[in-house]
């Protein structure tokens, strides 16, 4: 009951003040210390005000910077029981088969507990096949073959899992797909970036 009365009296006060302010604009000396801004909404004094707030409970995040240049993920060093960062490279002419096999490898790693660091595609290389015509010496373009490449990067392959993992991959390798397992080097990472001829030209000029 007291709450209700308080509200009623508050509204009344606000109404009165509003009128007072509008009527006596010329008297700015009137101070209203209790009411800093007359336009305050009434329900902020409700006991349940702010009941749904949750963002103040989250840990403070550092402000997000603008998108950085791609940093290289750390190459994990080799230990006594695990291998270093390995790249499983799947390549072939048929894109659906290559992609499905790389998806299969990724899912297999998830199931076997092998941590996958990264999963990316390398640029497609096109090969033009020129056939010699039967009569005459002119070369005829027969077809364009595109070699697709997908890489699954494994973080630290355990030595005990390794033979099983490799055997499963080999036995499930589809036709027309090449599988290659190599260690990841920085050169591999750098090869993914496009060359910048202007930058290199400027660098050469500076060094001269």
């Amino acid at each position: 009951m007291t709450a209700v009365f308080r509200k009623v009296s508050v509204t009344q006060k606000a109404f009165v003040l509003n009128q007072a302010l509008t009527s006596c604009r010329a008297t700015p000396s009137i101070q209203h210390p209790v009411w800093a801004s007359v336009n305050e909404r009434q329900y902020k004094s409700m006991p349940t005000h702010g009941i749904g707030r949750w963002r103040h409970l989250l840990p403070k995040e550092p402000p997000k910077k603008k998108r950085d240049r791609q940093q290289m993920k750390e190459i994990v060093a080799e230990t006594n029981t695990t291998y270093a960062t390995l790249n499983v490279n799947v390549s072939g002419y048929d894109m659906t088969v290559v992609e499905h096999f790389s998806q299969y490898i990724h899912n297999l790693c998830n199931r076997l507990g092998v941590k996958v660091m990264d999963c990316y595609a390398l640029p497609t290389k096109s090969t033009e096949v020129w056939l010699m015509q039967e009569q005459g010496t002119k070369m005829l373009v027969d077809s364009i073959l595109k070699t697709h490449n997908r890489v699954v990067q494994l973080r630290s392959l355990n030595a005990t899992v390794c033979p099983i993992f490799l055997e499963v991959l080999l036995k499930n390798q589809p036709e027309g797909v090449q599988l290659s397992v190599q260690e990841h080097t920085e050169a591999d990472f750098k090869a993914r970036f496009k060359g910048r001829p202007e930058l290199e030209g400027l660098k050469a000029k500076i060094s001269h």
Partner: protein
Amino acid sequence: MAAPCRRMAGRSLLQFLSSFSRTSVNNSGFRQISSTSVCRRSWQAQHVEESASSPWTLMAAVCLQRLPVISAESSPIEQQFRDMMSQMEQEKSMLSDHELRLLDDADRIRRMQTGEYDSDEEDDRRDQEIVLAQDLEDSWDQKLKNFQPAPRVTAADGDPRSLQRRLADSLLLLVEQPVGGQKVWLLPQTQWQQGETLRETAERALTSLPAAAGFKAMFLGNTPCGVYKYKLPKAARTESSVGTKVFFFKAVLADAGPPAAPDSPLMWVTKSELQHHLKPAYMMKVERFLLGL
């Protein structure tokens, strides 16, 4: 086991590069498997001298497999599904360039035959190509008829010594070795010597086979995939030898070299044929690590 475990932990892992390709089937009928070992880290000969040696003799065996050369046969359901999917995809697909060209050519020929054909009025393809799309298709059909694929089931399927048998399955190498006085069919094994890793022992087991000269195998890892313990019968047991422990290492065949002589004591068998040749207790341990894929 004191000796081998400590050894394995002390030895650093071999860095390896391996590539497997399954495109072309060359004469030997293998996938091209190549592996290069990048700097085998120097083996640290640490506390090799162990005062207390265990009573078990250690041996390492190699589980050498020839991977399937051709695709596995599909079951009836798979075949039906494949046919249905290809039919659906064809019905839903759009016309390709070649088919459009066929239709254009047929259309042009029909118009030419009506008599009111004016070649100047052709919209595109002013320089009409002499070769019609239909002719191209006929020449391709001819080439297809001339192509004879090799048979899936060959005469070598029955010969256990031939590497070309059962192209759709993976084969395991078995050799006949004298064990405890009798000749037994088992995976090639040899005794471990001091100062070498178990994997090196397994590699030696393979290269020391007289019949397996020229076999190039790629080992899949440094860790064994299975173990078989054999206790000698009570009469033969002494203090220093209670029995043998055999550790199996997996390897994949890369190259076979010259074909084996007909009387050589080796055999290539599939998983289903194993039970006819191996002893039951041994077979139980071996089939645990053979993938039935």
